[in-house]
Amino acid sequence: MSQHLLTLPILLPMLGALVLLLSSRASDQTHRRMSLIFTALLVLASLLLLRQAAGGELVFYALGNWQAPFGIVLMLDRLSAMMVALTAVLAMGCVIFACAGDDVQGSNFHGIFQLQLMGLNGAFLTGDIFNLFVFFEITLLASYALLMHGGGKERVGAGLHYVILNLAGSALFLIALGVLYGATGTLNMADMGRRVASMSGDQAALVTAGALLLIVVFSLKAALLPLYFWLPRTYASAPAPVAALFAIMTKLGLYAILRVHSLIFVDSAAEPAILGWLWWSGLATILLAAIGVLAARDLRPLVAYLVLISIGTLLAATALGTTDATTALLYYLPHTTLICGALFLIAELIGQQRGKAGTRLVRARRLHQRYLLGGLFLTAAVGVVGLPPMAGSLAKLLLMQATEGGARVWLWPLLLLAGLCTLIAMSRAGSVFFWASYKGEVTAGKVSRLQLTGVAWLLASAPVLVVFAGPISQYTHAAAEQLAQPQTVIQQLLGEAGPNDLVQSAPILHDEAQGGTL
């Protein structure tokens, strides 16, 4: 059983999606119960995997028992276990929140939600780059449907942009894969890394081109500077539980960058170009997103820009490339994902009680439960700004400590400036929502218990991340060290075969004698 555990994060949501989509006649209550059960099982499975990975063991699963590098392998290391667990925890909060009524605004919410989880988990666990593309597509397909759940002008308009951009991105993804396959003759990431390392001349130039194309695609998913303009509108118009889950979609792009960089392109000819591009775009993303946070006139786009700040920070940290920086960014990642998710949910709660004004930053009627909502908002705001005692402050300290030399001149001021802008914007939003209100009747209903549980589940992560900061940062440090040693993965997966025999057996069949006779 234990060796099949690795497939559970993909199989469970798939089964869940099938059951939920096929039983569309069952009552809403049944759907909710089933969705909650499947997500809870997923949390359980992901925690088991996390425990397995924490020991430092690399686990491989050859699908259909086709051995690598010919078949598709699933791969579990500390990083992927962490991402799967993070997805499951975030999804649990979103599902609980959605059960309060967001799920019945359209059809099949829970089934499509499970499909999206399957795509995310598959992308985190796969060790094959074409399989990564397939799981990316599953995630995207489900996200298109979820984004337009409930319909409405705003969502359809934003959805059209999102779909077209991502389709163009998928085309680029395939071109990059084609170039890489043509140059290396393999699709297994570990195998590809081994062949790229021993490459020179024309082939190396091709690999560099393919690598940079791949980084462009992942930057589009992660929403890095020239490619982020789709994000604020899309995230702002999505239904709250979906927007909260989308907080991990950008991290999927980040994960893919981390993975292909550490496993395939590290020390290759492409590396300086990749790191340079990530560093400057990451910094520029932080700056522009900080301006966006100040300029936003509605809480939802404001939170979307906060997601962008965190993405800029994470990618700039990736570009530093040191183990310490990776440790810091992996510690920052769960915190920022869960807090941003919680903020999207809180924005929905606030909007519900403000009548027509919604989440716009204007004077409106008084909130019905202003102490409860104010408390939640304050907790989340302190977390997202990165003030002590929340995990955000620890993560930023770790990151600033990991920055060395000339990089400090750029990263420190920008990081602190972004923190200040967030502080200003969140205080302004908070004062408008909770203090600048008309006196008079409050009519809107109360926050339901399920919604509160969902938000509390996500917010509870902040104290947990602080209290267990020691073990968690040790874990992320170990994960960063594991990432820095792709040799271990290659040796364990592919055995001891030298790189030279494999390059010769690459199935590239350029037959010059037969070419030219069309």
Partner: protein
Amino acid sequence: MEALFSLVVGVLTASGIYLLLRGRTFPVIVGLALLGYAVNLFLFSTGGLNTHAAAVVGESLTPTDPLPQALVLTAIVIGFAMTAFVVILAIRARGDLGSDHVDGQQGEEGDAPR
């Protein structure tokens, strides 16, 4: 053969990107479809271009690489489904936004009356 093949892929990609940058949803979708064809052809060629090479082991002394064909098949299926989806989405957007323009602008020829 290589020159002709790359020319075809190049022209298809260029046309696809040109149409993708247009302002109305219909040319954009046609652009996406062309880009999809270009990508499929490109993927097909990544194993190397061969003539008289069977894909089945044992049928020919110089078998062609079977993997790109499997990749193309996957890409075609995904591309086909996505084109169908985006067509429906564009029709829905025209109905909801009252305009065929990707930014939802109104007042041009062919737009639905307000």
